[in-house]
Every structure is written in structure tokens, then in C-alpha cells.
Amino acid sequence: MRTILFILQKEFLQIIRNKLILGMLFLMPVVQLIILGHAADYEIRHINLLILDQDHSTVSGDLVHHFKASKYFDLLPAANKYEEGLEQMQRGEADIILEIPLGLERELNRGESAEVHLTADAINGVKAGLGTKYASRIIYDYNVERGRAAGGQIITPIDLRYSNWYNPKMNYATFMVPGILVLLLTLVGAFLASINIVREKEMGTIEQLNVTPIKKYQFIIGKLFPFLVIGLMELTIGLVIGKLIFHIQYQGSLVIVYSFAVLYLIAVLGLGLLISTLSDTQQQAMFIAWFFLVVFILMGGLFTPIDSMPLWAQKLTLLNPIRYFIEVVRMVLLKGSNWMDVRWHFRSIFIAGLILNGLAVWNYRKTA
């Protein structure tokens, strides 16, 4: 036991002395939260719309006006030919082309149905999808308005009204900040811890340690524990920033969040240890850590909702520790979920921790 204390003393001394790591530890949460919290936004605005009005009628003018009034679209100077529009799209200037064919007004006035044509640049799938949706909505609204004005019979579909619970103003920072907190903790656990262990290998200091009576478990605990502490510090910094800068009201119990964070960090530190047993240099450790992190982050439900993944991918996310933490943090902090609501998450992260640490220790015994 005393040996562990001495190792811990040494580890903290080294961490404190490493200006880069120390700086990162405190700058990372501040910069990431503030930048990502403000910039990351799922709402798509500033869609560059090119309108090809070949009708030049009152009706087409009205329709164009509706698009101008929308907050989602930025109108490009009008073009005359469809080919011209496509060229602009090719250059990446236009995201969506709205083509209003000649005779729109005439056909509508005759009571016939008329068509407009939307072309979207689907390189950015989200922008194209949401853009055409917004555009359809504007055209639909215009239709309804025209019908009403004409006093004609409109079959109004079910009027849809919605409200956003738990995040009434659809504040994306509220949504993002908890997710980014999770990424920070993961970075500390998987990245820093594994690099720290591999450093001993790379510098050759492990050689000197191995001829001392230090036991492997003492070494492992001595190496991982500081990062558990640092991880919890990061979490605290992040929560304070969320409160002070983003004015997020934390609904649930912070005890649940911290308890889960401890279990989560143990699991991620297990991953870090596993990575360190697989690599001999810090560079290798970085690459392996990157591989895991990118997969975990993209499949973690922060950027893409897990519910919209294909079924096999949804199943796969059950293995992803990030997923559970993001859910717990959002549920507890934003929704005020209690222990019973997140008991399934606790069980899962506990099992993940057992598996990851088991693998790491097994592999560690084999190699060292």
C-alpha cells in the first residue's frame, strides 16, 4: 500500500511538471466547450439557393419572395439557364436550385396543377436533405396561402404543432455541452493514461522499475489513479463552464453524474491500459487510441442520433462506453432522471469496465 503512495507521489510530480499536459488539461475543456458549444449546431442555415425564374409572373415573384423571407436560405443572383445554375453548383456556390418553369402562373390560374423543380447538391447530405425539406415547406405554405386568398377549398392536412421538452428553446449548447464533457473524459482516460504508461517503456525507465520489488498491480494503480482524479477535475471544470457560460440548468443529481463518471473513467482507463500493452512507443499508442476514439465518438450518439443508425450499428453501439455516458449525462443533467432511470446504464458501464480492464490486465501479464 505504501508503495502505491510513493508511485502516486511520483506520478503527480511528473504530471504537474509537464507543462504541456497541464496546459492541455485546463485549456482543453475551456476551449473545446466554448468553441464547440457555440459552433456545433444541427440547424442548417445559410443554404445558398439559386432561383431560375423562367415564368417572371406575379405568382413566381410571390414564391421567390417567400424564399427571401426565410431565415434558412441565402439567395444567389438569379440565373437564366438551368445549365448556368448547374455550373454554379459544380463550383460549390449553389446548394439548391429552384427552377420555376415558364407557364406556372397560367397553369395555376387555369386551376391545373403546376410543378417547380428542386435540385440539391447532395455532397453534404444533411444540407441537401434539410434544404429540400425547408424548401418544400415554403412551397406548401405558399400553396395554402394562395388557396385561402382565392377563397377556394383547401384540404388542410393535420396541423402539426410541436414543443421541445427538456430543451424548450432548442438550445444546441445545452445539447452539446454534456456530450463534449464526455469526450474530454475519454481523452484523459484513453489517451493520456496510455501515453503515460508507454512513456515509461519508451524512455526505458520501466527497465529500472522492473528490477525493483514493485508489483504489477501497484504499478498499474499508481499509473491510472492520477488520471481518474484528473478526469473528475475535467468534469468539474466542464460543469462549471456549462453553468456559467451556457447557463444550463442542471436538473438531476450531480451525485449520479459523478458516480457514473467514476465507473466510466475506470472503463476508459482500462482501455488506455490495453492500448499501452499493445504499443511500444507513444506514437503507436496515439494511433491506436485515435482508432478507438474516432469509432467511439462517431458511434456515440453525439453527432448522429443512435436511433437513426441502421439496426446493426445500433447493436454495435451497445459496446461503446461513450454512448452510455452521453445518455446518462443528458438524461440526468437535462431531464433530471433518477437512479432508477439510469440503472441499465450503470450496469452496462460496469460490465464494460470489467471486460476492458480484464483484457488489459490479461494482456499486460502476457507481455510484461
Binding site: 509537464n18 524512455m203 525507465t205 525493483t212 520489488p213
Partner: protein, 303 residues
Amino acid sequence: MQKTFVRIENLTKRYGEVEALRDISLDIKQGELFGIIGPDGAGKTTLMRILVTLILPDSGEAAINGREVVKDWKYLRKHIGYMPGTFSLYEDLTIEENLHFFATIFGTTKEENYDLIKEIYEHIEPFKDRKAGQLSGGMKQKLALSCALIHRPDFLVLDEPTTGIDAVSRVELWEMLGKLKDEGLTILVSTPYMDEAELCDRVAFLQDGVITEVNAPDTIKKEFDQPLYAMNSKDNYELLMGLRKMDMVRSAFLFGENIHVVTNHSYGEEELQKAVLEEAGIRANIRPIHAGIEDCFMSRMMD
């Protein structure tokens, strides 16, 4: 006769295709300063790493003070001091912090064993708040030695301690080893420098994983039975090339200002001088000499 402290029997270790150690057997006596001399890649480090319980041999046995290195590693790690070939202390910790750390994990304190490291540590104590990474090669070596000694080991193993440090530090280091030996410590030291062999009680010559000779340096020198001459001329390089072409010359190596030449028979100086003038066309100064330790090893390597 002193009792055997380290017993090595038929030790073998291979790395894939390479046989790093082939059937090595060796005894080191208690209180001995024992040297392993050999070129790079001879297997010196492998042998030492087996002795300090860092790696396992493929076959054979080794025991230190009656304790098997494979079975009793736990005991041995508390009683061995090891200084690896590359500096392996924490460069971001200070001299004092390094020493403190290694003392504590051995369950001791710097003060408790200070008498053993005093002479070494005194050299670096004025810089005790300096980080280990900022020390010179010689100072790093002294710190590493202090850390290897802080738990008062019975057996000290040093892997090429003089490689890469300056001449003054080399001399100092050997002086310290001599003093530690006087304290009763058994010391095993490896070196690629043949001249350092003379500073050991006994040396083993290790080449390609095989020990070709174990003896006291003086005995090795006495046993050298080949005719040996020192030669020099205005252009030693030309002379060396010429000598190596001659039939009567077994080997010729440059040692400082002279070329040491082993011939196939004993010759008179004039006889030899004439032959060199005729065959190599060079006028050389020639005198017979007694073999130094380096001559012995060079001739071993030729066999």
C-alpha cells in the same frame, strides 16, 4: 578460496534465429569485481538481463547467492542493484527526487544507506535540484549508480557503464567500483573497452554468445605465447596495409602510435626489419613487446 556467489550453468537464450547466448557457464566469486568483455552484439546485455530477472533463459540455470533467478526473482529483486546500459531514470524528476523515489519503493530511505553512496552522491549533491535530463553523461551515471545502490544490494550489475562518457568520468567510475568492491559488494560489469579489463579481478571474454576465456587479466597476459612486436614508421597506415599482406604476419592492429604485430614464428628484430623492407618497401622501427590485455583479446577474436 572465496565461495561462489553467482553460478551460471549452461545458459541459453535465443531471439528467433539469433542465438544470443550459447550454453554459457560461469562462476563469480563473492566480493569479486568481474568483467565481461566483448564486442557489441556479443550477448553481454542478454546475460545481464537474465541475471537481474528481467528476462527468462530458454534453458540452463543461474543462481545468485544460492537463489535461482527464475524461481526466486521476488527475493532477488530486493537484493540486486542494476544499472542498465541506457539511462533509465526519470529525466523530468530532479536528482534528489529520483533517489528518493527509488529509496522509497525499496522500503528504505536515502539517509539509511547514505554511507554506501556518500562518495558517489557527493559529486552530484550540489546539483540535487536539477532535473536528471539536464545532467551531463558522467553525472547521469553517478546518479544511476546511486539509485542502483540505494537499497544496499549484495550484487551490483552494470551494463556498459562507461559507454558514452568522457575519459575523466570513466576513471572516476572505475575508482568508485573499486571502493564498492572494498565494501564487500560483488560486482559484475560489462564493457566493450578492452583496456578496462585490466581493472577487473577476473574477466570473461564473450563473443557471439560464447565465452572463450575466463581468467584474471594478469594470467591472460602471461598465457599469451605468440611472438609480438610493436612497429612504427613515417606512414603507419601504409605499413599496416603492407604488413597484412605478408605471409609471416598472423595479425597486425594499430594501437595508438604503434602497430602490434603477431608473427607465425619468433624472429630477430633485424631479420624482421629486413623482411618488411623487402616485402612492403617500408623502413620500420621494430621492438619485441609483452602482450597487453588488448593483444590477448584481439588474438582471441582472430581465432
